[in-house]
C-alpha cells in the first residue's frame, strides 16, 4: 500500500516542460530521495506535491485521497509537511512562535474564543508553547528557545523549518535541500536527524545535492533529468546505474557551482563502495 502515488504528473511553464509525464510511488516509513542536476524539476515537483503549484497534467493521490488541484493548506491538513530551499521562516516572530505556528492545525479555535481568550484557549496555548519548545530541543535548537528568528544563523533556521514542519504532525515530510549552505559538521548532524524522523514514523522525501547525505540515508532514489524520470530504485541499484553516472558526468560540463561538489561526492562514494 503506497502512501503517495504520483500518476503521469506534468508541469509546463510557458512552453517548457519542467516536469513531464512523471509517475512514482512512495511507501510509508522509507527515506525516498530525489536527485538530479540543477533545473531537473525537483523543486517544481515538491511544489506540486504541496499544492504550491497546480500540475498541468496528472494526479497526486495521498493515501486514499486524490489531492490534485487542492490548495497548499489542504495538503498540509492531510499530513504533508515541507521545508523550503529558500527559507520561508516567519522573520517577524520569535523562533518559538515559528514552531507554534506549525501547531496551528491542532490549536485552531473559533473566532469568538480567540477574541475573548477563553480559559480553554489559554490552557491550550500553554501546552502549545511547551510542545513547541520540546520540538526545538528535538531538532537541536535548545540554545535558541528565546531567540528572535531574524537573529538566528542560517543553519539554525534550516532546523527551525524542520521543527515547524514536524509541529504539524505530518505523515510525509518533504525536505528541500536541507544540507545546502550547511558546514560539514552541520550536514553530518542531519543524517542523525533524518534517521530520528523515520524513527518517529514520518516518511521522508529528500531533495538533495549532497551525495554523501543521500547515499547515507536513502532507502529509495528517484533520479530526475529534464523533468523526466531517468532512473528509480533501491539506493544501491541506482548508485551503479550507468545512465545515472553518465547524466551526472555529462552534465558536469554544463553545470558548475554545486555540481563540482556533487561529482566529488559521487566519486568519493564510488571509491568507498569499491574498496
Amino acid at each position: 500500500m503506497s502512501l503517495l502515488r504520483v500518476d503521469r504528473l506534468g508541469k509546463k511553464f510557458g512552453g517548457v516542460n519542467a516536469v513531464d509525464d512523471l509517475s512514482f510511488e512512495i511507501r510509508p516509513g522509507a527515506v525516498y530521495s530525489i536527485i538530479g542536476p540543477n533545473g531537473a524539476g525537483k523543486t517544481t515537483l515538491l511544489n506540486m506535491l504541496t499544492g504550491v503549484y497546480q500540475p498541468s497534467a496528472g494526479r497526486i493521490v495521498f493515501g486514499e485521497h486524490d489531492l490534485t488541484g487542492c490548495a497548499p493548506y489542504e495538503y498540509a491538513r492531510h499530513g504533508i509537511a515541507r521545508t523550503f530551499q529558500n527559507l520561508q521562516v516567519f522573520f517577524n516572530m520569535s523562533a518559538l512562535e515559528n514552531v507554534m505556528v506549525g501547531r496551528y492545525m491542532q490549536e485552531r479555535c473559533g473566532l469568538v474564543s480567540a477574541l475573548l481568550r477563553s480559559r480553554r484557549l489559554a490552557r491550550a496555548e500553554h501546552a502549545c508553547r511547551e510542545e513547541a519548545a520540546e520540538l526545538m530541543r528535538y531538532v537541536g535548537l535548545q540554545n535558541y528557545l528565546y531567540a528572535s528568528a531574524d537573529a538566528m544563523p542560517y543553519g539554525a533556521l534550516k532546523r527551525l523549518e524542520i521543527a515547524r514542519a514536524l509541529a504539524t504532525r505530518p505523515k510525509l515530510m518533504l525536505l528541500d535541500e536541507p544540507a545546502a549552505g550547511l558546514n560539514p559538521t552541520e550536514a553530518l548532524e542531519l543524517d542523525d536527524l533524518i534517521g530520528r524522523l523515520t524513527g518517529r514514523g514520518v516518511t521522508v522525501v529528500l531533495v538533495e545535492h549532497n551525495m554523501r547525505l543521500v547515499m547515507g540515508v536513502s532507502d529509495h532514489i528517484l533520479v530526475l533529468d529534464y523533468g523526466r524520470k531517468l532512473a528509480e530504485g533501491p539506493a544501491l541499484t541506482v548508485r551503479n546505474d550507468p545512465k545515472v553516472i553518465e547524466a551526472y558526468l555529462g552534465s558536469a560540463v554544463s553545470h558548475d557551482g554545486t555540481f563540482g561538489e556533487t561529482i566529488a561526492d559521487a566519486v568519493a562514494v564510488a571509491v568507498e563502495m569499491h574498496r
Binding site: T50, G51, V52, A71, P72, Y73, Y75, A76, R77, A81, R82, F84, Q88, V89, F90, F91, N92, M93, E97, M100, V101, G102, R103, Y104, M105, E107, R108, C109, L111, S113, A114, L115, L116, R117, L121, E125, C128, R164, A165, A167, T168
Partner: protein
Amino acid sequence: MISGTMLARLASPRTGGLLGLAAVIALLPLALTNTYFYDIAVLVGLNAIVCIGLNLLIGYAGQISLGHAGFFGLGAYGSAILASRYGWPPLAAMLATTVAVAALAFVVGRPILRLKGHYLAMATLGLGIIIYMVIATEDKYTGGPDGIAVVPFSIGGFVLQGERVWYWVVGALLLLAAWLALNLIESPAGRALRALHSSEVGAEVVGINAAEHKLMVFVISAVFACVAGSLGAHYSGFITPGKAAFLHSIELVTMVVFGGMASTFGAVVGAAVLTTLPQLLAAFEDYEMMVFGAVMMGTMIFLPRGVVPSLARLLATRRDATADGEGNGV
C-alpha cells in the same frame, strides 16, 4: 509561586499594557480642564478604536487598506439614517449597520484580498471612493455634501450627552477594543496572521488558509471602523461625507504607521498624536497643511518603523548597553 506568575503576567506587554492604558484613561481627566479638551479626547478615542482594528489588518496581517474611511462613513451614515430619519432606537440602528457593513466587507473582501501590494492599495482605495461617492450623491437619504443631523445616542430612555459622559463611554470601549485585539493577536489565529504577513506560502504549508484569515481580519477591522463611525455620528450630532473621504482613509493609515505597525498601543499613540496635532497646528493657520505634511514625512523618514517600536528598540538597546557595561565592570 502564585504571586510570581501573577507578577510575570502583570509585566507582560498584554496585561501590563492594558493596565497602563486603563490608568491613562482613568487619570487623563485630571489634565482635561475644559470641555474642549474632553472633546479632543473623545475624538482621539474614536480614532484609536478604528486604528486598533486597522492595525490588525495592516500591521499584523500586512494587507494595506486605503479605503477604511468608507467603513467609518457607512457606520456613521447607517446610524444617522436609521436612527434620525426612520426613528430606530440608536442601539438597534448601530447593530443593524454593523451587521450590514460586516456583510459588505465579507462579500467584497474575498475578491479584493486576492490582490497584492499596490494592486490591493488601488482596489481598497477604489472601494472607499465608491462608498464616498454614493454617500455624497444620494442626497435623498444622506443629505448629500451638506451633511445630515444625527440624534443623540440613547439606551432605554437614558440619553448620552456631554463630553464628559462620552469620554468614559469611549474610554471603556477603547479598552475593550485593545483587549480584543491583543487577545486575537496572541491566539493561533493571530499567529496565523503574522505568519502569512511574513510568508504566505510558509503559512499555507502548515495548514493555514491564508485567504480565509485575511478575510476574517478585514471584516473585523471594518467592524471596528463602523462602530467608531456610528458612535462618532451620535457624539458630534452632525456628519458630512468628508468622514468617508479618501483623505480620512489616509489619515487613518498614517496614524497606524506613525504609531508603529504591528503594535496595538502604537495605533493608540498614533491616533492620539495625529488627532491632536491639527488642533495644535491651527495656530499656524494657512501653514497648517504644510506643517502637517512635513511632520508626516519627517517622522516616516527618521522613524520608519513608527514611534512606539522605534522608541521600544531604543530603550532596549540602551538597557543592553548598560547591562553590558555592568558586566564589563565586574
